[in-house]
């Protein structure tokens, strides 16, 4: 009889051990999760000591579609409402100066935002709960990414609570350049056939990055067709570009691809604050100039060559 009891005890122990191993491995989480993002889930840290404030909300990421930068150079407001309870009453809580930071981690370091004016507007909900309406102002050039939210609150007795929400909300990607691009068309002085290394006489085109997209300028070029005799043309591969004056006709210039195929120029107009130059120039951190060079092939007849006959303008792309 005693032997049987021992065996039942061993069986019970094994069953419990198995169940514990299954639960602690998060196996059921893996079974039912849908996004595969468990490792990125919010990491809430709440500590409650008698009389200490407790951050009731937010406790999880904002489920909305994220916030959009504005290429009118206006800031984008991200409103965040925080609710805090303190059993000692709302009088124990700060009026509006609470610790709130909005952070994105980049390979170049972290960018940290705090509420505008470092102040949130408090509103008492009841005797021991207060809400704080905070606004984070985002610039048009702030990076597109998932931003984290850190909240810290301290009452008059220096009791405190903190909340960390990883990937709280998304700041979307805005690709935007000034349009129409300046100048709207390129010209060259009188040309001979053949003639190499001829610089455009009305470049550069000035590209102003009005968004937060940090990619290259692409050019989709088309052959220039003779306006009188369409049997003659200047291929798009006869052109080269550079963002440095007088480099466009050297080996540093990037040759454009064949008709209708995008060329990655490697030129980047970095996202950045608008320098306010009017008209645009190439001096701002978000501005870049593109210079053009032409090698006129041999065998062309004397006439005007342009994109007019083809009806396809060259496209300056951001992407």
């Amino acid at each position: 009889m005693q032997r049987k009891k021992e065996v039942y005890f061993v069986i019970s122990f094994l069953v419990i051990l198995l169940l514990v191993s299954v639960v602690s491995a998060g196996l059921f989480d893996n079974l039912f999760k849908k996004t595969g993002h468990a490792p990125q889930a919010p990491q809430d840290v709440s500590v409650y000591v008698g009389g200490a404030p407790v951050i009731d909300s937010p406790t999880s990421p904002d489920p909305g579609p994220g916030y959009d930068p504005s290429d009118s150079f206006a800031t984008t407001t991200i409103p965040i409402t925080i609710e805090v309870t303190d059993t000692d009453g709302v009088a124990d809580l700060p009026d509006g100066t609470i610790g709130l930071t909005f952070v994105v981690e980049l390979s170049s370091g972290a960018i940290i935002k705090t509420p505008s004016g470092s102040f949130c507007t408090p509103t008492d909900i009841d005797a021991d709960t207060r809400s704080y309406a905070c606004n984070i102002e985002m610039n048009h050039y702030d990076p597109a990414d998932d931003w984290d939210l850190y909240i810290y609150i301290e009452d008059s007795a220096t009791n405190s609570d903190t909340t960390t929400i990883i990937d709280y909300t998304k700041y979307n990607l805005l690709s935007s350049i000034t349009d129409p691009i300046n100048p709207t068309s390129l010209t060259w002085p009188s040309l001979a056939s053949p003639q190499n290394n001829v610089q455009s006489d009305n470049d550069p085109t000035i590209v102003v990055n009005r968004g937060n997209d940090d990619r290259h300028i692409l050019i989709r070029a088309y052959n220039l067709i003779g306006e009188d005799n369409g049997g003659y043309s200047i291929p798009s591969t006869s052109f080269a570009v550079s963002d440095i004056l007088d480099q466009e006709c050297t080996v540093a210039g990037v040759n454009l691809n064949a008709d209708g195929i995008n060329t990655d120029t490697g030129i980047n107009a970095n996202p950045g604050p608008n320098d306010g130059s009017d008209p645009d120039d190439c001096d701002g951190s978000n501005e870049v100039c593109v210079y053009y060079c032409l090698d006129v092939p041999a065998g062309l007849i004397s006439q005007t060559y342009s994109t007019t006959e083809r009806g396809e303008h060259w496209v300056v792309l951001y992407g």
Binding site: V7, I11, S175, D179, P180, G211, G311
Partner: protein, 168 residues
């Protein structure tokens, strides 16, 4: 004096009108993929912006991912001073889709305005792309298999113990 003020106002107006821009807001991009399941349909909404003073026309072309993505409309008139002209892209993953990742690429072209006066007319556009990543059904199957294996192991252990007890 009146003439001077009038002349200055007109010049300033021309300068203001000449500064135009247009852009594309993307909810997903190269480092922010869209995650989906087999048999699922989602709509991804891009927005065309136009902070300028005149309306602009845009053409949208789906360049990659036509096997799962479609545009219901390709031409858009974007009113001035707006940034919410929505371009919905519908993505449907067939239940038997065999790719784990599919790149979606679109090009937004600003419609060119008339014939240019120079040799090379210029317009602008945007290349937009992101990945659609499928939740791995194989991994889910592995988890289910692990549970089944654990249950079977438990049963085997129980049977072994019962057999041992009965022998004694």
């Amino acid at each position: 004096m009146v003439n001077k003020i009038l002349g200055l106002t007109i010049i300033l107006s021309v300068l203001l009108i000449s500064i135009i821009s247009a852009g594309v807001i993307q909810p997903y991009w190269d480092t922010h993929p869209l995650t989906m399941n087999l048999g699922e349909t989602k709509t991804v909404t891009f927005k065309i912006t136009n902070p300028g003073d005149v309306a602009v026309d845009y053409e949208v072309e789906l360049k990659k991912g036509q096997d799962i993505a479609s545009l219901s409309k390709t031409n858009y008139n974007v009113p001035p001073k707006t940034q919410n002209t929505e371009v919905p892209l519908t993505i449907t993953i067939p239940s038997d889709y065999d790719k784990q990742v599919q790149n979606i690429a679109l090009t937004f072209y600003k419609a060119q305005e008339g014939a240019n006066e120079g040799m090379v007319g210029l317009t602008t556009g945007y290349e937009v792309s992101f990945d659609v990543v499928l939740n791995d059904p194989a991994n889910q199957g592995n988890s289910l298999g692990l549970v089944i294996a654990l249950v079977i192991a438990l049963i085997v252990i129980l049977i072994l113990i019962i057999v041992i007890v009965k022998r004694k």
